[in-house]
Each structure stands twice: as C-alpha cells, then as structure tokens.
Symmetry: C2
Subunit: 449 residues, 2 copies
Amino acid sequence: MSKTKVIVIGGDAAGMSAASKIRRSHEDWRIVVYEKSPHTSYSACGMPYYIAGKVSSEEDLVARSPETFRDKYNIKAHTFHEVIQVDPPQQKVLVKNLQTEESFWDSYDKLLIATGASPKKPALPAVDSDGVFCLSTLQSGINTFEYIKKHKPKKAVIVGGGYLGVEMAEALLEMGLNVTLIDRNHYIMKTLDQDMSEDICGLMKKKGITLLLSENLTAFEANESGKVTCILTDKRKIEAELVILGMGVTPNSELAKLAGIKLCDTAAIQVNDRMETSASNVWAAGDCASSYHILKKKHQFIALGTIANKHGLIAGSNISEETLSFPGVIGTAITKFLELEISRTGLSETEAKALEIDYETATIKSSNFAGYYPESGEIKVKLLVEKGSRRIIGGQIIGQRGSGKRIDCIAACIMGKQTAFDLAMMDLAYVPPLSTVWDPIQIAARRLM
Amino acid sequence: MSKTKVIVIGGDAAGMSAASKIRRSHEDWRIVVYEKSPHTSYSACGMPYYIAGKVSSEEDLVARSPETFRDKYNIKAHTFHEVIQVDPPQQKVLVKNLQTEESFWDSYDKLLIATGASPKKPALPAVDSDGVFCLSTLQSGINTFEYIKKHKPKKAVIVGGGYLGVEMAEALLEMGLNVTLIDRNHYIMKTLDQDMSEDICGLMKKKGITLLLSENLTAFEANESGKVTCILTDKRKIEAELVILGMGVTPNSELAKLAGIKLCDTAAIQVNDRMETSASNVWAAGDCASSYHILKKKHQFIALGTIANKHGLIAGSNISEETLSFPGVIGTAITKFLELEISRTGLSETEAKALEIDYETATIKSSNFAGYYPESGEIKVKLLVEKGSRRIIGGQIIGQRGSGKRIDCIAACIMGKQTAFDLAMMDLAYVPPLSTVWDPIQIAARRLM
C-alpha cells in the first residue's frame, strides 16, 4: 500500500498548521505544500510594527521557513509555486513554477486549500501608481518598508479605518509622517459601536491625524514618473506621497469555485465543522474558508490569524483521520492605537439590532488599575446581555495598558453561556498595580444583573 | 410601623458594600455602622504601595470616608466604636466608644457582622518591639510608613513569603533597603506549586534579596529603647531594624463565637450562600466569614478584598430582602514582584493531590506578546485538567507585563466548566503588541486536549 499523499495549497498560518499537525500524526505520509510567495508561516499581523521599524528584520516575522519545514518536519514546502487549477474528481492539481514558468500536474489523496485572502483594491484611476500599497503578504510589507526608506514620504493617506488602518496610522504617526485617514463609514472601527469608536477618534485627532469620515475614495493621481501625488474623494483632493489601502480583504476562493466547490454567500469556501468542503477529500482552512459564528448562527468570512491557526489544526486533525470539530467564532478582535488598547467580542449593539435580539447594554468608565496607583489610567467597558436570559452576548473595551486582553474573560463567559450575575460574582484577580477590586468588566456586569 | 434598623459591625469593604446596597434598596431604613478604627472603606491591599511612597497620601487609599457615607448615603458610620458583645436573642449589641470609654447597648432588626481578620502575631519574646509591624488596618500601614520615614532603617526582615511578604519585599527593595525574607515552608508563595514558585525565588535572589526557606522564627531582640535589633530563627540570628510579619491572618470571629453563632472548622463564621449565620437576623460577610470553595466543595477561609466586596453585596441584597446567592470562590489571586506578574486560580497540583482528584497538568513557556515585538518577555503557564472530563480545574501564571490578568480567562473557564479543548479553540484576542497568535493559556490547553 502506498503512503497517503497530502497536498496543501498555501504555506501560511492555516496551511502550515495543518501540515505540521498531519506530520505529528503520520510520520510516513507524504506532505507537499505549494506556496506562490517566497515565504511560509509569516505574521501578516506584524506588518505595521515591521514598517514602523520595531521589528529588527523581516526574518523575525517568519515563524518557520521552508528550510525548517524540510529539515525538522520532513514537509516539502515549494515557494514560488502557484496552484492554478484543482481537479477534485481526478484528485490532482495543476501547479505553475513561477520562477521557471513551467506547469505540471500533481496528484493527491487528500487536499487542503489554504489560499488565504487578498486585500480589496478598487478599480480606480491610477490605483497602481508607485506609493500606493495594500498590505497582505510579507512581500507587500517589505515593499512598503523599502519604499518609505527610499522616498521618505511626508504626507500619507490611509484609506479605511479598520484594524489595519488604525495600526498603520499608529506606525506612520510614530515615524513622523503627516497622516490623513479617510473612511466611507460615518465612524471608524465599525466592528465597535459608534459610542466606543469616538474615543479612538478623539485620540487620533489629538495626535494630529486628519480624520475624514463619510468620504469616498474616487481616484488617484500620479506624476510623470508614476508616483502617487494625491488621492481624490467625493469631497476633496488630498496630497499624498504614500497611500495605504486598508479596505478589507476578500477570500481567495476562485480556485475552489472553478473546481465546482461550494462557496458561502460571503464568497468564502463553505466548510463544515471538520473543515470539509463540498468536494470529497478536499478540506479548506484559514482566510479562504468560512467560519461558523456561534452567536449569529451562520457562516461568516473572518480573516484573522487566530482563526486561521485553529482552522489549520482542525483541518490537519481531520485529514489525519482524528475527528475534531471546530466550535466556531464569536468575532473577538483586538488592536492598539498608541496608548489605547481596543478590543471587542460577541455582538455589538449594531449587530444585536440587526439580528433582532432583545438586548440590554451597560457602559461604564473605570480605572485599569487601582485609581491611586501611579500608572493607572482610564478604561471604558461596554457589555451586552440578552434581555430574558441575562446571558452575556457581547463586550467592547477601550482603555489604557492592561485593558484590551480583559476581553478574553468576556469571550470565555460568552462561550460558557454565563450571565451578567455570573460574571459579577466571578472570582477574578485583583492587586492594585494590575486591577481594581471589582474588575471593570464586573462593574459593567453589575449594571446588568 | 417603625422603620427597619440595620446595624453593621465593621466599616471596611464587606460592611460598607452591604450598607450601600441596603441604602440603594431601602431609602428609609436606618443604617448604623460601628467601626473601631478611624477609617472606613480603605484599600488594605494598597498598603505595600503606600509604604513604598507610590501613593500620594493615605487619603487616596480611602474609597469613601465616614463623611461621604453620612452626606451621600445617609449612613451613620461611627468610627472609634467597637462592638464588644452581640446578643442575637435580644437583637442588640454592646458598643464601646473608644474615645470616651463609654459603653451602650443598641438594638437592631437586622445585624451584619463584618469584623474582618487580624494578622497572626506569634507569642514570641520581644514581638512587640518598636519596628516590628503587622500590616492589616490602614492605621498599621500609616504607622509603618511613618516609622520608616523617621528611623530610616537599612536592614529589613520579612517573615512569611505569601502575597503580603512578596509585595513588601518589592516595596522595601525599591526603597533601597537590604531585605531578608524568611519562610517556614520549603518554598514561598505556597498557593502556587513549587515549580512555579521557583521563578519568583530566582528573581528575588537576582535582585539581592536573601531568601531563607524552611526556617522558623523563634524570637526577636530589642535594644534598651525598645527598638528591634534582630530576629532569631531555628538556624541563625539576623540583624533587623525593621520587621514585617506576613504570617497570614485569622478571622475576627470571637464576637460571633461568644454569641453562640456557629463557626466553621477554619474559625471563620459559618454562612450559607445568602451570607446568613446560624443566628436569626444575623448575617456575616468579608474576611470574618467563610466562603464556599466550588472545586473543593467545602467552606474555606479566604481573606481577600474581592471576596469581601462580593460578600457585602450579597449580604446587603439579602438583608434588603432581595434573594441573591453567592456562588462561591475558586481561589483566584494575583500579585506582582517587580517586573513579574504572578497569578493563580482553581486548584494547584498540591491541592488536587490532597483532594485525590485524578488530574493532568501541562506547563509551557511562551511570550507575553509576539516574540518579535520589542517589549516582549517571558510567560510561564501551568494548567490543570481533571483526567476524565478534561475540564480545567486550575491555572498558574508567572510572567512579564500583561501575563497576570490572563488568569481571569482561566477562572471563567473553570466557572463555565470548560475543557482544555474548549479553551484551546476559544476565540481569544490577538494583536502582536499584546499577545501571541495562540494565547499562552491556549498553548498550555492544547497540550491537555
């Protein structure tokens, strides 16, 4: 009997987590990875900090290189290899070597599609000018870093006030650039409610960022040498020597779609809780695949490293013939803008309304540490409960040091179906330099008991 | 019908939380508080930071003063008033005014005993010498602070390596004193397991603290003017100009005991989940009362501000004739020693063994933030699960900034009866400056799946 052969398309978080898991379970299986970029297993989330010069080298962003996979895991990770066709009935994939331009078919027993997501790039005039960057692959981060080093731009425009936009605003501000952030929505960070978002806007303005809301990008302008000079919106023209597009991402599901594999309505590849697609012997994981949202009770497209890693582990386990089910996600996310930590989990008020859930909410302001402790600062917590059951269904936190990761306890409460009373009475940790005697999340919970 | 009259014995966390709750529920009830010290509602936990000079004034440690209670809550809080006898059948208490030495009887409809706990002070030669301090009341903190300011001691001995001992070690070290810490146990911080405790010992030694373990205090020596000069142990004599006793506390339950109220085997006042004592119309709350330990399934004596506040709220609700049940505690605690954050919840390995629980454990070392982020440091997580169910039953964390409060998520998992797999798959928050992509507690959980 020949050894089982697994092909993995995509060598980042989901793909390589799965490949490593399969290797741990089956020492003798053949595992081949095709990755079109030069890199495997890198931290895309680290890009803003790399661009800001906080990371010594791009190599630090690579968790494990192709050489490590080859030498330590006996996994062949072929970089510069793009899979251009998948044939599930024949169990084979068409691969193009991007360096030699040669193509070849390779066959599999089991296939994992982990093709990730791509940044949205609007089809607008001069969008491809030099100095306009989307951040997605490690290479795009390196390109941005090199461009800034070479051209020393002074005026930057960030399009989109989501997580990447906010993180890049911090990075460029700390590098001394003049930053304008535009967003088509009437407030930034729209996974938060507006009342929470306003605290971030306040700090941004205080730090000198020009914030333009409810404003749509319409075009770019470039000079004769092809370098961006300004962007145009529906309201004005803004000078720009550097433009960062943080307009969200779309799942790279085209390959799966062409192979007849079912997509969900967000265009992500539809998977069940074992990361199985609609095709036999084909799994999908990471940014290209859907995630079941436990509170919304439907499949969603959420592109996050945390989820990609979990997808990868679950897919790898099931490919290895060990049954593990992914419980789903609740939309937890966190970021940081200068001294402000910003996090959220579960449903926002906006989402609860859209789902017609009968909810109650409490928002409190407190202190991250004991108020008398020298380094203490503000924290604001918003909590949502379902009206009848009093179960916690969402939380949002904005505050100084130590605030953001408190969201994890709220996430655990949502997953444990705990009520506001349960949280208020929970035995949480207190010492003056690190908390208040009633943790701020408990102060909010008490209001909803 | 005359208005209900509530007497509260003890004006700190539990007593005043209850009094405030009762006032919020019943605007017209008479609420009288007797407190033997000069202060109400102060942060005993803040004392080490106050002594270290990090808190501008002792007034900052007082959350609410007697005047605030009088003016804002219509609660009469009599300081310098000690209750010296309780008579449940007659529903009255004998009160001594410590300033006038007069005594008087006062009657109640409902009584709350919130007398707190007192530090253990061994009956050893010269224990009452000047320069030997127990830290409990705010006044004891002020006395210690003043003594150090006046006498500028250079050599300090701390007896007991529990939370207070570790916090005072930090305080005295930062003030430039030469610090010796002695503990009768063979490792310090015995609510942790020894393998975790050793990391703290390592840092203490590195910072120049002399650590003497398995060593018993036997006596003190003082000079002619009554000032301490050294302590004696079963192994040696140690020079000391300042001695801090952190040898634990005992519940102040004598008053209740004399009144025939039932105590539990830890000498704390036995209460049910509504904080009712064995006597009619008498409740108890805070450090003097027992707490049900959810995992140990028995009543315990745990003296902590977090628990005292919850006790107070529950007692106040039930005194107000609103039924609320206290779910109990799981032994969560946290402290900090210089850059190390130290926390624990649930059962330690030692406790699990004593309870004959079939458990498994995993200990991992990881990074508090993304390893490539400039300020990242080490974190060590130990997790315990019950063998059959895989439910999480305990956690211990030691690490750099941002490590300690991660224990709250483990506490929520214990309360939610979640398994290692549930925690590993939980949607926790990640951004490189604040976490790793698999949170360290999830890395530990993965080992126990």
